[in-house]
């Protein structure tokens, strides 16, 4: 078995999930200058809702792909409503407050969502029902499952569509205009609150899909899963240059690769002293390095501190 290729495949799969979640962080930051630390919990809620819907439908005799699609749509809709509510209830009243206030609120929202999920779904690890046949293919010595292929394809498709939306449509132009200069955008008749709401809803839709992907890949759902995933996606957004959408995509994929290769080789490098369970170290090592050596990220441009 080819370890290098295998780790690259795993990293790419994990990286596409990071990229999707990182987009949610970066889009909100681009428009509001706010780091929405509750975003990871939206991913978790997306996975939980999808799991519950699948469990409800699994005995109905519907074809698996249809069940998957229905649960995906419901999960997306729930997450969009959740994202909208978070913005409306927790952030909009603080739009003009000093930036520390919404940041603390974000952490608060994150804790609230986690605990609500714990009350509703319990503390146990749930198995995510596997609907797709668990076929895998050999690729010159490495294994790739069909679920993984699907994850990468869906992620690439969604990210491509998002870029098209941002650059080829009236709505996307309005969103970028608000991010660039709200006071000028408002004079062009752009509805700022509407644009912000749509930004949160789009980010949450991506989070819902990412939540399904990660739980389908690992087969496990847990009320605490959003927290570490959210932090890593945030790292990916910072790595690519927070506020920059292409940066979030590149940063996500890169972080997935770094983590996966790091986990694959850390044992050899440390002479067996450290094992692959240290893989989380790499993400945060990347975060610290970027913040110290290139705070603007890979694709971000040097900007003055935003007020």
């Amino acid at each position: 078995m080819d370890i290098l290729l295998q780790q690259i495949i795993n990293g790419f799969v994990q990286g596409s999930v990071y990229a999707m979640v990182a987009l949610g962080y970066t889009m909100v930051y681009g428009i509001l200058g706010l780091i929405n630390f509750a975003h990871g919990e939206v991913v978790m809620i997306g996975a939980m809702v999808a799991m519950s819907v699948i469990q409800l439908l699994i005995s109905s005799g519907l074809p698996p792909l249809l069940i998957l699609l229905i649960s995906l749509i419901i999960s997306i809709m729930v997450c969009m409503a959740l994202g909208y509510s978070i913005e409306r209830i927790a952030y909009r009243p603080l739009r003009k407050a000093p930036r520390l206030a919404p940041l603390i609120t974000a952490i608060g929202v994150s804790i609230v969502l986690q605990n609500l999920a714990m009350i509703f779904w319990g503390r146990a690890y749930h198995a995510f029902p596997s609907l797709l046949p668990n076929n895998s293919h050999m690729l010159s010595g490495a294994i790739i499952t069909e679920v993984q292929i699907l994850i990468v394809l869906v992620a690439l498709g969604m990210m491509g569509s998002l870029l098209l939306l941002m650059h080829r449509t009236r709505l996307g132009r309005a969103m970028r205009a608000v991010a660039e200069n709200p006071s000028a955008a408002i004079l062009m008749g752009v509805n700022i609150n509407g644009v912000i709401a749509i930004t949160f809803m789009l980010g949450s839709a991506l989070a819902a899909v990412a939540g399904m992907m990660v739980s389908a890949n690992y087969g496990i759902v847990h009320y605490y899963m959003g927290s570490i995933l959210g932090l890593k996606a945030f790292t990916a957004a910072v790595l690519g240059g927070i506020g920059n959408m292409r940066g979030a995509m590149v940063g996500g994929l890169l972080l997935g690769l770094i983590e996966s290769l790091g986990a694959g080789y850390i044992g050899d490098l440390s002479g067996g002293f450290l094992g692959s369970h240290y893989q989380d170290v790499f993400a945060f090592f990347v975060l610290i390095s970027v913040l110290v050596f290139r705070p603007s990220g890979l694709l971000g441009e040097r900007v003055a501190e935003r007020a």
């Binding site: 709505l171 200069n181 000028a184 062009m188």
Partner: protein
């Protein structure tokens, strides 16, 4: 009472508009009227309240009292920006506020936002109506870029345009909203003589196309040479409103600009 049927020669009529910032009276009891098809100048020393007036007219600030009539409709000076933009007031900013990381073309396309309508549904489905609208937006934006004289590739990022081009791009973006009144905040600031001359021609051509122009400018020669009528603000009060020839020799204006002693070289410049 005004009725929309009656053609009003005045496009904009301010009565008693006032704005305070804490203890500072930025504007007090400003009344003036701007006729349709005019180029109307607003001058005054720094801090006279010119930009504050613009901000009230475009809804970025809320007036403390007073109201204005624009195109036969009365507004109370506490309107949302998009209402006034919809009514047909467009502006540029003293410190250029373009969408710096978007292309020149996209900047003007955002200006069309107000007069177009496709939303998230159109964006997701790319239906025929959306595609036609998008095509019209692009065509309109290209026409306007050519009109204001930006002959660089339209895909150039706004931040990479020259200073004069950025000023003209801002005008093109404002024109894209189909304004009845174009309010320009120091459009000639920082321009060289040639650019200023081109700007003058552009403004005359905009007026000829039926758009009324309101102009804040520090370049007194430029204002007096271009405007049909001029109002002078000083410490938030209107101290004069007249045709340029009369403004030139208005004692109150000369005092506001130069202090009480008119015997210094800059006085000669105003006179020339």
């Amino acid at each position: 009472m005004k009725t929309p049927l009656k053609f009003d020669i005045n496009l904009l009529e301010l009565s008693g508009v006032a704005k305070r910032f804490g203890g500072l009276s930025a504007l007090s009891d400003i009344s003036l009227h701007i006729q349709r098809g005019e180029i109307y100048g607003l001058i005054g020393p720094n801090g006279a309240g010119k930009t504050t007036l613009f901000n009230i007219l475009t809804g970025l600030y809320q007036a403390d009292s007073g109201h204005f009539t624009f195109n036969n409709t009365e507004y109370n000076g506490r309107c949302q920006p998009h209402v006034l933009a919809q009514a047909g007031i467009a502006r540029t900013f003293q410190n250029i506020r373009l969408f710096a990381n978007m292309t020149a073309l996209e900047n003007v396309m955002v200006g069309r936002h107000l007069r177009t309508s496709s939303g998230i549904w159109g964006a997701l489905t790319r239906n025929a109506r959306t595609r036609i609208e998008e095509h019209e937006i692009v065509q309109h934006a290209r026409t306007l870029l050519n009109y204001v004289g930006i002959d660089r590739p339209h895909q150039t990022l706004a931040k990479n345009l020259s200073y004069g081009e950025q000023r003209r791009l801002e005008i093109a973006r404002a024109l894209a909203t189909d304004p009845k009144l174009l309010a320009l905040d120091e459009p000639a600031a920082g321009m060289n003589a040639t650019e200023t001359e081109n700007l003058k021609e552009l403004l005359l051509s905009i007026r000829a196309s039926g758009i009324t122009v309101l102009l804040i400018e520090h370049d007194v020669k430029f204002v007096l040479g271009l405007c049909d009528r001029v109002a002078v603000l000083d410490y938030g009060k209107k101290i004069a409103e007249d045709v340029p020839e009369k403004i030139r020799c208005n004692p109150a204006v000369i005092t506001a600009y130069l202090g009480a002693e008119p015997n210094i070289p800059a006085y000669a410049e105003i006179q020339s």
